[in-house]
Symmetry: C2
Subunit: 321 residues, 2 copies
């Protein structure tokens, strides 16, 4: 089959398309013919050599994809040849075929075609699982950084659908506006004093979903309410930060950091089930709206990475096969 190969990690030129052996589904696994592959920030890190796959996982890039079932392995009960599916993957999405454990496949959301569907599951699974880690509940205040980004646009709408007050930060007036149109009750320019503005507007945050890491660690702890929970899922602002333990203690607050990709299979299957049952209906009835994705042919994978890194893209990028 055709697949994206990275011989030596590096810049976009490291991405080449070549022939590799088509994988065969083992017990509990499904082989899917790819229709579209979602492009994520983590793919760029993996291309650069900074984010190797978990043990036992293919080194082909790609954390999510959609397609049509080609062949099922032993003991697979839910799927059969010809079914349309969307997959959450630990790797392998940038290829003509991919293998997924059956629990990490879901049908496309109602009313969403297979190409658009390729860019939904990773974000949905990340947000749903991490707001569960943060125990966000109705009536609480939820802050996400980058309210106009992929994670942010989804998270504000989902938090609002849960009955929480969603708040975000964003980098420009346009992005502030985008966030306010997608579930946020307040959105603050992150070049200003967003901690003070947040405290003024809502008294602080019960749960923060953070994609910045080190650079925001002290600010995030300041922004928490008593009993607050900071859930870190990205380190765009560095890996080692200063933690004010005294402040954390006086607030009885919590800091945690999680990664979807490194969770065990059972946990991923449970998250996919929850996304299908809880989020797909929200996409169906418009409680969550997706920005239109950018479609780029599979053969132009380098251009897809350039566009993602360029940073002006709104909505997901998907590679169409």
């Amino acid at each position: 089959m055709r697949a994206v190969i990275v011989e030596t990690p590096g810049d976009v030129d490291a991405l080449t398309i070549g022939e590799v052996e088509t994988p065969r589904p083992g017990p509990g696994e499904v082989l899917v013919r790819t229709v579209a592959s979602g492009v994520n920030r983590a793919d760029v890190l993996q291309r650069q050599g900074h984010y190797p796959p978990p043990k036992g996982v293919t080194d082909i890039i790609g954390l999510e994809a959609s397609g049509v079932v080609e062949e099922v392995g032993a003991a697979v009960t839910r799927w059969k040849k010809g079914d349309e599916v969307v997959a959450l993957l630990a790797g392998g999405g940038y290829a003509e075929f991919f293998i997924a454990p059956e629990g990490q496949l879901v049908p496309p959301p109602p009313g969403v075609d297979l190409v658009s569907a390729a860019g939904v599951l990773e974000v949905a699974a990340t947000v749903v699982s991490n707001l569960e880690v943060g125990r966000l509940s109705a009536g609480e205040v939820f802050l996400v950084h980058g309210g106009a980004g992929g994670i942010g646009t989804f998270a504000t709408q989902y938090a609002r659908a849960l009955g929480a007050t969603a708040v975000s930060t964003a980098g420009s007036l346009d992005k502030v506006r985008h966030s306010l149109e997608h579930g946020a009750s307040f959105s603050f320019d992150y070049h200003g004093d967003w901690v003070a503005e947040l405290k003024e507007a809502t008294g602080g945050a019960d749960v923060i979903l953070d994609i910045i890491g080190a650079k925001y660690l002290e600010l995030n702890v300041k922004a928490l309410k008593p009993g607050g929970r900071l859930v870190i899922i990205g380190m765009q602002g560095g890996v080692k930060g200063t933690l004010n333990i005294g402040l954390l203690l006086s607030k009885q607050a919590m800091v945690t950091a999680t990664s979807l990709r490194f969770k065990p299979l059972g946990a991923k299957a449970a998250i996919c089930r929850r996304v299908e049952q809880e989020v797909w209906p929200m996409l169906g009835d418009g409680r969550i709206r997706l920005s239109p994705e950018t479609r780029i042919p599979f053969d132009d994978v380098r251009r897809a990475h350039e566009q993602l890194v360029g940073g002006d893209n709104v909505g997901k990028i998907v590679l169409v096969h």
Copy 2:
């Protein structure tokens, strides 16, 4: 009544005994005639002006005491005049009488006299509530720093009684031995490379109860197993530390910091109930053994603080009235 008064925060000379008005129990409160007052490290911090009481709490020092019920306020159902009780307090223990919410009183443990009982509840409530925060479960590895200290001696025995493998650090061979005799399966001298020794012995810790804070933050995160939980309750090694978010993320681990004193009344009552139901039987049947306490007359409160700060005391210090 007679009470310890601190006019100006400072060294031990700041502690004087004087006359103050005897408090009256409000609704849901109980007035207790003190038999003995437990002495805690936090008392020293409060004397020095570093640890003011929560809002609305007396500024008389003292987080735990035992005594005999003198008078009950309206709506108190469990207690009557003459009952022997042990109290978890937010303040006020260093006095001839003290006031406690009825839920923060428990009977003394089976077979323990009121004087010894004055030094048990604070430690028990701290450990029980924080291992709950850390979700320690049977079969897991539990690490506590200062295995021969008040918190450490209790925590290793309690964790072992829960079915966990208890491990500690300690500052000398004698203290290592003390810890091994009180529930620890391994105890490491903290002047050495305890992270490496821990990993070698048990593969790391699922839960760490930390009293050091900043100085151990990076080491503690290194010592955690995947999915591990670091619960910080003391900052003997400083307030601001370096958090390696990348390492936390790769382990899907959690850091939290809590303080018993600042928890709401309802939470404290629930903890006291749990201590009475779960820990008192363990003291009764010897699963948890206390080091003999040091008894010092109430009038010698300065000596009690000197002895605590001196650091060579094993077991609790209690002030006898």
